[in-house]
Symmetry: C2
Subunit: 230 residues, 2 copies
Amino acid sequence: MPEPIRPTASPRVPLSRDRVLRAAMAVADEGGIAALTIRTLASALGVKPMSVYYYVQNKDEILDGIVDLVFSQIELPVIGRDWQPEMRRRAQSARLVLNDHTWAIALLQSRLNPGPATLRHHDAFIGTLRAAGFSVELTAHAFALIDSYVYGFALSDAALPIHGPDSVADTAASMMASYFDAEEYPHLLEFTVQHVLRPDYEFTAEFDYGLDLILDGLAKSAPESNGERR
Amino acid sequence: MPEPIRPTASPRVPLSRDRVLRAAMAVADEGGIAALTIRTLASALGVKPMSVYYYVQNKDEILDGIVDLVFSQIELPVIGRDWQPEMRRRAQSARLVLNDHTWAIALLQSRLNPGPATLRHHDAFIGTLRAAGFSVELTAHAFALIDSYVYGFALSDAALPIHGPDSVADTAASMMASYFDAEEYPHLLEFTVQHVLRPDYEFTAEFDYGLDLILDGLAKSAPESNGERR
DNA sequence: AAGCGTACAGTACATTGTACGAACCGTCCA
DNA sequence: TGGACGGTTCGTACAATGTACTGTACGCTT
């Protein structure tokens, strides 16, 4: 008889919706969102494809689920504390998390069903500003502005062809070779040579500049920061 | 014999790479990026699936192509003019264009091969700031900041479940019904009721607030705006 | 022991991208 | 006139994917 092999004494932890989602996230982290198929997911879990459908209605639910998992990793701002450092901390955390799971950025757009972690996140964000005395209107402004910047930065960052250890210079040089031959893009060329090709260039360092500018700008419209309202 | 039907005397304009890309864009506009398959595209062009492969290598090349088509629709800033109005105009144009082709936002991330329109766009952007006396470093800051905001805003906007004529109130109400039962998200609830549910609420109106804040912030570090440097 | 619900697996099918080669069709030389 | 040729389009086929439908093993209650 074919004995049911127990590989290295694993206690055969049973499947669960949570395990399915975590495995899905791991697969996407490893090979990108395109690598996340029901079959790869099932094999990562050590089961057959159709078994995951016992815990999930369809693949869309998996995508919704892992987006919410990503949100759950973002540090929440603490309601009641000074809004500016809290906003900065959560923005930086969000950037780091989205950097670790770049596939999530594109999903943000298509997934319209926020999960509990996403709602908690938004609630803390809004709550922090309201507790700091922001009006509803100003809170709306800040929400749209900060979130757009954070998501957009993560999007731009992920879209840069300079990730992994392949030298930036290589990439840029090949770009130049293919596109800049006719010097049709003089300013882009100058910019690339004088800035992007610098050995210490790091796009992510740009993040803080914009974040500070935005928070400073909001501070001018914000109430006094020492907790007193009106 | 089966006569070859010529539908309404069309002069049988021949296929071309350009027609393929334009048709692909039209299909994506109509049914979303998921509706863009080789078969739907071919049928929109009135040919058989494999015929489009004479003009493109593979589907990825189509995706790269339509992203570049989108960029070609964005109004370019004019190098030499006052940077601030030019930046504002191109940012607003970009927002409108991305709003008309929301599928392009997610593609921005995955498409790493910029086309000529994209490069022209970046060149004009950088050139406008450099001509206004911006240093390379400040140009880099402005580029990252403005582009992140524009893309991020388009992303956030597209992610809102309030598009089409379905009333905002309906959507928000159903959200509340499903999520806010236990009043687990009090601030989000208050925000939704007091702001999002307002009949005249328009998320897109938030765009100008953030854009102005960003441009104002940059202006403080920019050289004098009357074209004189140093 | 009988029955049953939970958790997984097997099989099958429609849809997708695309490789490969054949078929069409106008143009040019004989 | 005819035949060769090269550029364009099509037919067929296959592997990968999501998932519907059905089957089955195993623990628990009665």
